[in-house]
């Protein structure tokens, strides 16, 4: 990209500086997300240590199948996102659009499965504050488990929804030929974000679904 490249913003001296600034900025943002989710993770950890028995019983009401399938779906979406970024670097317009759309389909599938799970919990009276009823142990402690379950997966789902919004925006731009080997920063940055959201789920799945399954 020459210094007169239209994408070069005036306060930067050259495109490399601009790209490196964007990368550093996105990594810093992901660090804030680590601490954001981290706050919920420490809360969950404290209560899991204290109320392990009840947490195990409560966790067993979650479907390992659905959770496991969702994990696989997200891993596939990470692959397709990595391929989308790769295609952007190569300047392959149709492949960028294809992989972005594929990522969106997989992300939507994830959300569909997730909300199905939520609906099941509603039917089982396991949503805290909504006629919560738990038979296998202390109801209060089980409510805490489910509060964290809904809070953490809900926050994760919110991040997915935002990600889907970003991806649709990108797909439109990609279809218009905006990305090339000289400029694919938005795709790369969204890729970093998407992978991070995947990583959060990589921790959520075993911690929430696989408690005391033996």
């Amino acid at each position: 990209m020459s210094k007169s490249h239209p994408r070069l913003l005036h306060h930067f001296d050259d495109p490399e500086q601009q790209l490196e600034a964007s990368q550093s900025g996105m990594w810093l943002f992901l660090v804030t997300e680590i601490m954001f989710f981290g706050g919920m993770f420490i809360g969950y950890t404290v209560y899991r240590e204290a109320y392990f028995e009840v947490f195990a019983h409560a966790s067993n009401h979650l479907s390992v199948w659905l959770g496991g399938i969702n994990t696989a779906v997200l891993i596939c979406s990470s692959l397709s996102m990595a391929m989308a970024v790769h295609s952007a670097h190569q300047g392959q317009r149709r492949k960028i659009v294809f992989y972005l759309l594929l990522t969106m389909v997989l992300g939507t599938a994830f959300l569909g499965i997730k909300f199905t799970e939520y609906y099941h919990k509603y039917g089982e009276n396991l949503i805290p504050g909504l006629d919560f009823a738990f038979k296998e142990g202390n109801a209060g402690q089980a409510a805490i488990f489910y509060s964290f379950y809904f809070g953490m997966t809900g926050l994760h789902a919110l991040h997915m929804i935002i990600g889907l919004g970003l991806l649709s925006f990108l797909a439109v731009q990609a279809a218009r030929g905006r990305f090339s080997p000289l400029y694919s920063t938005p795709v790369e940055m969204t890729g970093l974000y998407w992978h991070f959201v995947d990583i959060v789920w990589i921790f959520l799945f075993p911690l929430l679904y696989l408690v005391g399954r033996h």
């Binding site: 900025g25 660090v31 601490m35 954001f36 706050g39 204290a50 209060g140 402690q141």
Partner: protein, 547 residues
């Protein structure tokens, strides 16, 4: 530079006119002004709350306002002052304005994010004021559970949302500063040629990035618990209110370093300039800033000594809290050593900086008292605590903010403020401050609890002294408001470098052009190079000396 010459010259203030050119600006200098106006507004809201508090405390009986109202007043005072004044003040006003200039850049790394930061700040602030108008919140700015999450009948969710949104403003500002310092430095501006103002803002930004998200989640959980009755902090369900305190103070302790580090940066610049000397032990001061930021994350439990936290954790936090005083002390010693055999002039910024050193030292020292477990048992939640943090936040941070505003006012506006009035204001503020808050140390030691609207009659004399001091302090704050605005129109025109200070920001016209420098500067000199050569004060328009 003649007034006529300045009239002809285009700079960042006159390059475009109209509300849209300000509300949609991406120029870091204009955004700094947007922040300056809005934080002044929130400061006066918080000050109004404080006025009512101190009026109530003139008499032992709770006779001015009801107890519930009093609770709402001190909550609003704390929320406004901490989240909407102190935390943004120096970084968002002076940091935004100066950091690109100090490093020789045309703007911050992400100018549009910078503007978004301001809009997030305004949204959060207006939402919080909306909550106050709707009836207020009475939990204290610390929002302890389960009162805030279950029992309070006030507008917790609205207020918490306002603070949450404001948190993103902080995060984006910190992100912007860190990337800017890494990637946008002019040629020759190595890390150890950076002004200490930049180092302290870098350290502050580390805290913005790492700490703010945790308080965000803490407050979000309170809101969720209130709305959905989740029970995370509800003891009846097995929840632990202290978990909230851990999450809250994990940020809110480092937040106090957010509030003081930028002030320390201002003090370094001002002390050097008005002693005509380089800062003693530059690299020690730079690393001390980083040290404060890092160690500040290890001590939050000292706010929880009596809350139910384990005594062993309390001991660890107590020990670590002693350690965090060390880098602060290093800075105080280095500033003092800078003054020694310096050529001192007592202009207003210097008065503020000297006041800072004394008052911050007292505040910090009392912090060591509080870090001692056995003492804290007695004075926790008394006016001793209130005095301690006001010495640092007002005696330290606010004075540094005012000192910085005065020091860089000529650069920002092209005008000099009236020095006589400024010195008078500085002295008034210093005296008013001490009369307000020193009696509170005594009150706290004698056992007067904080957050009470009534008190035993034997405490009245000290309370009256404190309120008298507060009225003097208020007068002191009004003076700069008046004469700074006056100076915009009637102040003497300032040249490029009226203080003959070192630093790239003084090597460009006052007010600066939109892109800060005609040509990107190339840095060859060490910072605070006061000894080697007298920095030039006047340049022909359009000509920029290579530093």
């Amino acid at each position: 530079m003649s007034e006529a010459a300045m009239e002809r010259r285009l700079h960042y203030l006159n390059v475009s006119y109209g509300v849209k050119s300000w509300l949609f600006t991406t120029d870091h200098k204009r955004i700094a002004w947007l922040y300056l106006l809005s934080i002044t507004f929130f400061f006066f809201i918080g000050g109004l709350a404080a006025t009512l508090l101190r009026l109530e405390l003139l008499t032992p009986q709770g006779d001015l306002v009801q107890a519930e109202t009093y609770n709402k007043l001190f909550t609003m005072h704390g929320v406004m002052m901490v989240f909407f004044f102190l935390i943004p003040s120096i970084p968002a006003v002076l940091g935004n304005f100066l950091i690109p200039m100090m490093i020789g850049a045309r703007d911050l790394a992400f100018p549009r994010l910078n503007l978004l930061s301001w809009y997030l700040y305004m949204s959060g602030g207006l939402l919080t004021i909306g909550a106050a108008v709707a009836g207020g919140v009475d939990t204290g700015w610390t929002f302890y559970t389960p009162y805030s999450s279950i029992y309070s009948n006030s507008h917790v969710v609205l207020t918490v949302c306002g603070i949450f949104i404001n948190g993103f403003s902080s995060i984006l500002t910190g992100l912007n500063f860190i990337v800017t310092v890494h990637k946008m430095r002019a040629p020759g501006m190595t890390w150890f040629r950076l002004p200490l103002f930049v180092w302290s803002h870098y350290a502050t930004s580390i805290i913005f990035i790492l700490g703010t998200p945790v308080v965000a989640i803490a407050l979000a959980l309170v809101a969720l618990e209130r709305i959905f009755r989740l029970g995370i902090f509800d003891p009846a369900l097995g929840g632990d209110p202290i978990l909230f305190q851990h999450l809250f103070w994990f940020y809110s302790h480092p937040a106090v370093y957010i509030m003081i580090l930028p002030g320390m940066g201002v003090v370094s610049e001002v002390i050097a300039c008005f002693s005509r000397k380089r800062i003693f032990g530059y690299s020690f001061v730079a690393f001390a800033s980083l040290g404060i930021a890092v160690l500040g994350f290890l001590v939050w439990g000292h706010h929880m000594f009596v809350s139910g936290q384990s005594i062993y954790a309390g001991m660890i936090f107590s020990l670590l809290s002693m350690l965090v005083a060390i880098p602060s002390a290093i800075k105080v010693f280095n500033w003092t050593a800078t003054l020694y055999k310096g050529s001192i002039s007592l202009d207003a910024p210097m008065l503020y900086a000297l006041g800072f050193i004394g008052l911050f030292t007292i505040g910090g020292l009392t912090g060591i008292f509080l870090a001692t477990l056995a003492i804290d048992i007695h004075v926790h939640d008394t006016y001793f605590i209130v005095a301690h943090f006001h010495y640092i936040m007002v005696g330290g941070a606010v004075m540094a903010y005012l000192g910085g505003i005065h020091f860089w006012w000529p650069k920002m506006t092209g005008r000099l403020y009236p020095e006589g009035w400024a010195r008078l204001a500085a002295v008034t503020i210093f005296l008013g401050f001490n009369l307000t808050f020193f009696p509170q140390f005594v009150l706290g030691y004698l056992g007067m609890p904080r957050r009470y609207h009534a008190y035993p009659p034997e405490f009245q004399v000290l309370n009256v002294m404190s309120t008298a001091g507060a009225s003097i302090l208020a007068l002191g704050y009004l003076l700069p408001l008046i004469y700074l605005i006056w100076s915009l129109r009637y102040g003497r025109v300032a040249g490029m470098n009226p203080w003959r200070a070192t630093g790239l920001e003084w090597q460009t016209p006052s007010p600066p052009p939109t892109d800060n420098f005609e040509k990107t500067p190339i840095v060859t000199r060490e910072p605070y190079d006061y000894a080697r050569a007298e920095p030039q004060s006047e340049y022909a328009p359009g000509e920029v000396e290579h530093v």
